[in-house]
Each structure stands twice: as structure tokens, then as C-alpha cells.
């Protein structure tokens, strides 16, 4: 553990991700407890110390219930730690604001707005308040904005025929594409994603992973990407944090692994098949799941056998 940490620090010094390697997100001694219904309390995060530099793509891994979403809520400002401090962009987090873009797993889009309206919503608010919208200046701005939004949506893999549809008329994958576009349109310094791809089928997921990676490489926002899929984390991230559930009475932090992921330029579809990636995957699994015997790993696809149908078997 100590060795690994030193190794990490050495790496950090050698290869800064962005020219200015300032700290973007800092969690200092963050402890979060929830009151339990029957009295008493449960510690979810314990003495977390994490510094994330601008432009890093950090994947947060861990089994269900270990506090990944809680961590994200702290950074977002939706909740506050019982102890310790959360700092984003040099300022302590006090409320939810536009410093962070947010893509949840579900309910990411406003159901009463079309795809285009969803994507325009944020930038319009940023341009002026509700009262200023009658001015011609706003309408000029809106025209330019529309062009930009169109670009963004097309890049995320939507067709122009979908722009006027409502989220309810789109598949889950399409909705997540729009949600990412919606968040990226604000050009947030920090992008928070909570299991954003977890409900998608494998091929949609793969294509979204590639698009997210491309988008990140262009503008280099700081990304905090929560997932429970190890290979997804290793494919996308430059750094992986593995959390483990906090056991009562423990004194150490519940960050189990904090490691840099070697950077490559291959497309993800190629990358995921390389020997090196497999080894890395194996390595992290060993590190992260040796205690919990891999309970959260997804079953590799391709192992599902054809079953005879009931009606057929009866004949």
C-alpha cells in the first residue's frame, strides 16, 4: 500500500495531466454518517483524503452500498460531510451550482422538454435570467447556441430527427447521450457521473464510453465517474479509486485502492482486447475484490446457454 502510494506520487510528478496541475477537487478527512432508523448511526465514508487534479478522469469503483454515490453527493453539494471539508475549484462546497455537471443514472432529462430544449436549458439560464429573454440579444445568442447544441448532439450520436422528441420517446441509451450533451454544453470544470451507463446494453454502453472518452480528451474536464464495472473504470479513467464498505470500529480510510491507469491512445474497442488491459483488469480485481470475492463483478457475457422453451419441451 505504502509502496503503491509512493509510486503514485512519483508518477504524478512525472506526468501532469494538464499544464496547470492545480487541485480541482479535494476531500479532506471527510467522514459521513447516516442516522439509522432504529437509533444509532452508520459510517459510510471514513476519513477520506483524496486530491483530484484538474483534468483527471477518476473512476470510483466499489460494490453496492459502499458510499460511491454519497461521495458524489458531497462533491456536488447536495449533502455535507459530518466531519472534514470538500473543496471544489479552491472554494468549499456550500450549495449545488454550475461548477459541477451532473449525469445521474436515471431522471437525467427534463421529461417535459424536447431533446433540444433540454440541451439549451442550461446555457440559456447562464446567459440571462428569465426576464431578459424578450430582448433581441437573447434571440441572436440563442441562434448561435442552437448551432452549437446541434453539433454537440450529433457528436454524441443523435440524429437531427430526434431533436424535437421528448425524452420519453427515446431509448435509455439515447437519453444518456442527451444527458451527457446537456451537461457538457455548460462546459463545467467538473463532471460528475453516477452509474451513468449502468442501465445500458453492452453495445450502447461501449459506444457511449468511446464518445465520453473523446469528449473528455477534447476539453479535459475533471471527471468523477462512479461505476461498479471494473473494466469500464479501467478503460475510461486515468485514475481509479476503489472504495470498500466501512466496518464499524475501523480506523483507516475506506479507500481500498488509489492508482493511476496507464494512458493509451487506442480506441476502446481495441484497448479492451489487449493482453496488457487484461492483466491490468486482473490486477485490479485481485487488489479490490480479494476480500469480497468479486461479489460485484458482472458475469462475462457469452456464457448464457440456450435453454429449451417450456412449450417445446412438453412435446
Amino acid at each position: 500500500m505504502v509502496l503503491r502510494a509512493m509510486e503514485r506520487r512519483a508518477k504524478q510528478r512525472v506526468m501532469p495531466v494538464r499544464a496547470a496541475a492545480e487541485t480541482e477537487i479535494a476531500l479532506r478527512d471527510v467522514t459521513v454518517r447516516y442516522k439509522l432508523a432504529g437509533g444509532g448511526s452508520k459510517t459510510v465514508l471514513h476519513r477520506l483524503n483524496v486530491e483530484i487534479r484538474a483534468g483527471e478522469f477518476v473512476a470510483v469503483l466499489g460494490e453496492t452500498g459502499c458510499g460511491k454515490s454519497t461521495l458524489l453527493r458531497m462533491v456536488l453539494g447536495q449533502e455535507f460531510p459530518n466531519e472534514g471539508a470538500v473543496v471544489v475549484d479552491g472554494k468549499p462546497v456550500r450549495r449545488i451550482d454550475a461548477r459541477c455537471g451532473y449525469v445521474p443514472q436515471k431522471y437525467a432529462l427534463f421529461p417535459d422538454r424536447s431533446v433540444m430544449q433540454n440541451v439549451l436549458y442550461g446555457p440559456e439560464n447562464a446567459f440571462c435570467g428569465w426576464m431578459g429573454r424578450a430582448r433581441p440579444r437573447f434571440w441572436r445568442f440563442r441562434r448561435e447556441l442552437r448551432a452549437e447544441a446541434t453539433q454537440m448532439l450529433l457528436r454524441m450520436g443523435l440524429k437531427s430527427g430526434d431533436f424535437s422528441k421528448y425524452p420519453g420517446q427515446l431509448s435509455g441509451g439515447m437519453q444518456q447521450r442527451v444527458a451527457i450533451a446537456q451537461a457538457l454544453m455548460m462546459r463545467p470544470p467538473v463532471l460528475l457521473m453516477d452509474e451513468a451507463f449502468s442501465a445500458l446494453d453492452p453495445s450502447t454502453r461501449a459506444s457511449l464510453q468511446q464518445q465520453l472518452k473523446d469528449a473528455w480528451q477534447e476539453t479535459k474536464p475533471t471527471v468523477l465517474f462512479v461505476t461498479h464495472n471494473t473494466s469500464e473504470a479501467l478503460l475510461l479513467a486515468t485514475r481509479v479509486l476503489v472504495l470498500r464498505p466501512h466496518a464499524e470500529g475501523e480506523t483507516e480510510s475506506n479507500v481500498l485502492v488509489d492508482m493511476q491507469v496507464p494512458h493509451t491512445n487506442e480506441p476502446l474497442s481495441v484497448r479492451r482486447r489487449t493482453r496488457e488491459f487484461e492483466q491490468l483488469h486482473e490486477h485490479v480485481k485481485q487488489l479490490a475484490f480479494r476480500e469480497s470475492d468479486g461479489g460485484t463483478e458482472l458475469v462475462p457475457t457469452g456464457l448464457v446457454q440456450e435453454m429449451p422453451r417450456r412449450g417445446d419441451a412438453a412435446e
Binding site: L76, R95, I96, A98, Y102, Y107, F110, W130
Partner: protein, 287 residues
């Protein structure tokens, strides 16, 4: 043959009856109702030609005519040369409909602040702590029991009845809107703030806009209680209004007027409900 298979389909969950068939079936109970009524009415009149409980078809038509054309007994009679139109607009049905409609409309307007209050309670924690407990309690007060107080405070005309309707239905609507707004996923509010929304943006452009179709449906469901409170108020103390007339006619068994009035009220509510449904669909095509 086709009728036969049609009847079989009544018991077939997977059946797909033809449109013509479903359309005509939807009128069967209406026709049956009319037929049964006429049957009984004729039978009663055979026994007692002066029966006033179940007027015959002709008597009903005469009743409708009188309701539309004749002036209420409490008004001064029109001059003899009055035109048809003048007679209708001074007729009892017209006068009563206008009087009741005015009360109904004003109460509906007064329910808009109730909806906004429910919204604010759900969105702003401080408003929630001020109002929620009070409304949970206030909602349990039986509005009709307040009527004597309302008569004293607002007098026995218009406003006491309007306040009865508002007090009767308002808290339900407040709490219903509150629940609907609370059920909006937290993600939506969080997301809106990350997209640089102001507090009012979140309340009105995100939450209210999303629950509006359900709120309108809730208003639709509350039309009936609203009418109920209106009728209660009008029957107890009033000098005009649809329910006032029904109560008045009941005293001398004027079923030939009461029945048309009853159907007229049902029709008005039915049309109002349908209009709101249409408005809802227009306003919220995404729903």
C-alpha cells in the same frame, strides 16, 4: 354470427372487438336507463294519472321548456312583448346557471393559489415547515361544519358559499400538489441547479411544469367535491342557483323541473371535465 362472436369477446381478455361494436355498446346503458325509467313512469301513471314522482316524456319536455323559457317565480314578470331571447336570458335555467357558474368559476380561480402553495411547500423547506403540519390538520376539518361561522363572517350571500367551496377543496389540492411535487425525483432538482437555475426556475420551470398535467387531473377529480360544496351551500341558504332551484322544486314535488336540472348539472360537469382534459393534452403534449 358476428354478434355471436362479439358476445364471446365480452369474456375474452385478449379480444379486440370492432370499433362499431364498442361504440354501440357504450350507449347500451344509457338506452337501458331511459327505457327502464319510461317503463316505470308509464306504469305509475296508469295507476295514478296525477303522479308527480316520475313525469312522463311529454311532461319532462314541458318541464324543460318551462325551465328554459319561464321566469323564476320570485322575479317580476317580463312585459308581454318580450322576445324569445329575452325570455331565455330571464328564464330560470339561465339565471340559475349564471349564478352557480359564477360561484364555481371564482372558487376555481381561488384554487390556483392553493396549487402554488402546495408547490412552494414541496420545494422550499421553510415553507414546508410553516404550512405542512397546519394543512394536514386543517384538511381534516369537515368543511360543512364551518358553514355557520362562514355565514357570520361572509354574510349569507355569494362569499360564504365560495369560501365553503375553497375551504372544502383547497386543502386537498394543496396536499395533493405537495405530494406530486415531492415525488419529482431529486435528480431533477439537482440537475437543474447544476444548469444554473435560480430557485424560482426550479420551482416553476422545472417542478411545476413537470407536475402540471397531474395537477390538472387532480383539479378534474376535485370538480365533483367542488360541485358538492356548491350545492350544499346553495341548498342551505341562497336566493338563486341550480341547487337552490332543485331544493325549491322539491318542496312541491316538481320532478319535471328537477330531473332536467340534474341532467343539466351532470352535463356541465362532464363538459368542463372534458375541456380540462383537452387543455391538458394541448398544454402537455409530452405527458
Amino acid at each position: 354470427m358476428s354478434a355471436m362472436s362479439g358476445w364471446l369477446e365480452l369474456a375474452d381478455i385478449q379480444g379486440r372487438p370492432k370499433r362499431m361494436w364498442t361504440q354501440s355498446l357504450s350507449w347500451v346503458l344509457f338506452a337501458l336507463g331511459v327505457a327502464v325509467y319510461l317503463q316505470f313512469s308509464i306504469a305509475r301513471h296508469r295507476e295514478n294519472p296525477d303522479d308527480r314522482v316520475m313525469p312522463t316524456g311529454t311532461q319532462l319536455m314541458a318541464g324543460v321548456h318551462s325551465a328554459v323559457m319561464d321566469q323564476p317565480e320570485e322575479d317580476d314578470p317580463l312585459a308581454d312583448g318580450a322576445s324569445r331571447w329575452e325570455r331565455v336570458t330571464h328564464g330560470m335555467l339561465w339565471k340559475d346557471t349564471v349564478a352557480s357558474g359564477e360561484r364555481f368559476g371564482i372558487s376555481l380561480l381561488l384554487l390556483i393559489p392553493a396549487i402554488l402553495l402546495g408547490l412552494h411547500m414541496a420545494v422550499f423547506p421553510l415553507a414546508e415547515s410553516v404550512f405542512l403540519r397546519f394543512f394536514l390538520f386543517f384538511d381534516k376539518i369537515v368543511a360543512l361544519s364551518l358553514l355557520p361561522i362562514l355565514f357570520i363572517v361572509f354574510g349569507i350571500d355569494q362569499w360564504s358559499k365560495i369560501m365553503l367551496m375553497v375551504i372544502g377543496v383547497g386543502p386537498t389540492l394543496v396536499l395533493d400538489t405537495y405530494n406530486l411535487a415531492k415525488a419529482v425525483p431529486r435528480e431533477q432538482v439537482v440537475k437543474a441547479f447544476t444548469l444554473k437555475s435560480s430557485n424560482l426556475d426550479v420551482a416553476y420551470r422545472v417542478v411545476l411544469k413537470q407536475i402540471l398535467p397531474q395537477v390538472i387531473n387532480s383539479v378534474r377529480l376535485n370538480l365533483k367535491p367542488l360541485a358538492l360544496f356548491l350545492f350544499a351551500g346553495e341548498m342551505i341558504a341562497s336566493t338563486d342557483g341550480l341547487a337552490y332551484r332543485i331544493a325549491l322544486m322539491r318542496r312541491h314535488m316538481g320532478m319535471d323541473i328537477i330531473l332536467p336540472y340534474l341532467l343539466w348539472v351532470a352535463l356541465l360537469l362532464f363538459v368542463l371535465d372534458g375541456t380540462l382534459r383537452l387543455v391538458n393534452r394541448r398544454l402537455n403534449p409530452w405527458y
